[in-house]
């Protein structure tokens, strides 16, 4: 197996940043494997979060960064890649595309084309960040890639499916935000009362299918009353 191009940066007294070169292939498996190995090494006394091509290791333990880097590097260079166990989610979306998108994309793309481009891709959850439970989905068609809004909206509704640059994301709670909203998904993406508060995990696959206002509202009620289980939207990838 080729040696991974990994760099280490001493982030703070208790934190270490591990980065891969941009465009590294299999980056999700590489990060997942690294996270797993580091947790084994520290016997779970570490907190790790992921970014696009990096992960940040934070520990409460006293650490000699250079010793830790050596230990981690030995493990990461020698271990096989883990394939994360992942799910395929089929998510309903009520499309209601913001002007910021339609205005920029016309005349090359009308609303129907935007919808068909968006829901014909299979997305992969790259990592979770920004807000509790906010998934960054890879796989957005280049025709829908726009820079973030210059002035963020003061309030983006919970469940908003939105795009910015190469990512599609979902706002789990209402929040200010600078992404261009495509529509709304009625599923609860973050719930502190669940054993795993996040609905989507890194590596999960996601497909969207369009629903009407009526279907959206019905699903919202059925999910709230427990008549429809979240499992119904999930299968093995």
């Amino acid at each position: 197996m080729p040696k991974h191009q990994i760099t280490y940066h001493i982030y703070s007294e208790k934190a270490l940043l591990i980065s891969w070169e941009e465009q590294t292939l299999d980056i999700i498996s590489k990060r997942t494997t690294a996270e797993h190995q580091i947790k084994k090494l520290f016997k779970e006394e570490v907190y790790i979060n992921q970014g696009a091509y990096s992960l940040l290791v934070v520990t409460e333990l006293e650490m000699d960064h250079h010793v830790v880097i050596d230990l981690i590097d030995k493990r990461l260079q020698s271990k096989k890649l883990l394939e994360p166990t992942t799910s395929l989610w089929k998510l309903p979306i009520l499309y209601d595309i913001e002007k910021s998108l339609t205005e920029t994309l016309k005349p090359s793309c009308d609303v129907n084309e935007i919808i068909s481009i968006h829901n014909s891709s299979v997305y992969v959850v790259d990592f979770v960040g920004f807000l509790p439970g906010f998934p960054y989905l890879k796989g957005l068609d280049s025709r829908l890639q726009l820079p973030r809004k210059t002035t963020p909206a003061l309030k983006v509704a919970a469940g908003s499916v939105a795009v910015s640059n190469e990512y599609c994301g979902i706002y789990p709670t209402s929040s200010p935000g600078g992404w261009h909203v495509l529509g709304n998904c009625p599923l609860p993406f973050f719930d502190i009362h669940r054993v795993a508060p996040n609905l989507l995990q890194a590596g999960d696959q996601v497909q969207f299918y369009a629903v009407s206002q009526e279907e959206h509202d019905q699903l919202t009620t059925q999910l709230e009353t427990g008549k429809v289980a979240l499992e119904n939207f999930k299968s093995h990838a």
Partner: protein, 279 residues
């Protein structure tokens, strides 16, 4: 359960502790007391464990009624503090009787004040922390009429140790940020040789600085950040991320404050100046 009742809330009263460090992978911010040194001092005076939850007050405090006897300590920014209209000192153990009323005025130095109580405040623990954060805990800040439970009084609070507040320095100790080396020499020198002014845009999420540094760096792919990460935005503004900051960000990370300096910067008032020193 013993409780305090908020008769009048301060500007932004919240319960805070050491924060939710274990849930960063879910995108959950750390939160926790902005000035951890002051919160630690308040808990130490009472012989509490350092993770006991404290009441954090921002810029001005309110009026609080105690249901049963306890002891408290008030640290952080200086303010006029009274118990039943009698002036009391900060940074000291204060005995409180049933039905007494604590009143905390406007901060005259610093931004954040802390009230620790014997055994700690007993609000709901969510994802391993009692720290308030909108969307995670039931509320983001306390309002008039709210009750907060606290632990029953015990005499283990007494300690002979003489705790003193740590002085504030204007120099903030930093690690070079992950993207520091992408800055050219002039940018690096400007960053390390300028006294930066705390702007009026500050909150529990971030403090913005006034002086700008021209920025030619591209935005990053979303990358992990921590409280204390100093970001350089596209228009050259420096932003010091604080306890409620998101877990990832897309601006170049030019510096990272050490833990003590995060607490120090939290107490810097609008218009005051800070210098960065790379360790």
């Amino acid at each position: 359960m013993p409780r305090i009742t908020i008769l009048q809330a301060g500007f932004y009263d919240s319960i805070q502790d050491k924060g939710r460090k274990k849930h960063r992978h879910l995108g959950v911010p750390c939160s926790g007391a902005m000035d951890q040194k002051a919160a630690d001092l308040a808990n130490s005076i009472l012989n509490n464990t350092l993770d006991a939850a404290v009441l954090e007050l921002v810029l001005s405090g309110g009026t609080y009624l105690f249901s049963t006897p306890t002891c408290i300590a008030i640290t952080g920014a200086k303010a006029k503090v009274t118990v039943n209209d009698r002036a009391v000192e900060q940074n000291k153990l204060l005995d409180i009787k049933s039905g007494e009323v604590l009143k905390i005025g406007v901060a005259t130095t610093g931004n954040f004040m802390y009230v620790a109580i014997g055994g700690g405040f007993q609000t709901e623990e969510v994802l391993g922390s009692k720290s308030f954060y909108t969307g995670i805990t039931l509320m983001g800040n306390l309002q008039k009429g709210h009750d907060i439970d606290y632990a029953p009084y015990t005499d283990r609070q007494f300690t002979k140790a003489n705790w003193k507040p740590v002085g504030q320095e204007s120099a903030l100790r930093c690690y070079a940020g992950a993207e520091f080396n992408l800055l050219d020499r002039k940018q690096q020198e400007k960053l390390l040789n300028t006294s930066f002014t705390i702007s009026k845009n500050w909150n529990r999420m971030a403090f913005q600085l006034e002086e700008k540094i021209y920025n030619s760096l591209e935005q990053l792919k979303s990358s992990p950040v921590l409280p204390g990460t100093v970001q350089l935005t596209a228009n050259g503004q420096l932003i010091v991320l604080m306890r409620d900051a998101p877990t990832t960000g897309g601006y170049p990370r030019v510096l990272q404050l050490d833990e003590t300096s995060i607490s120090s910067v939290a107490q810097k008032r609008v218009g005051s100046q800070v210098d960065f020193i790379v360790l």
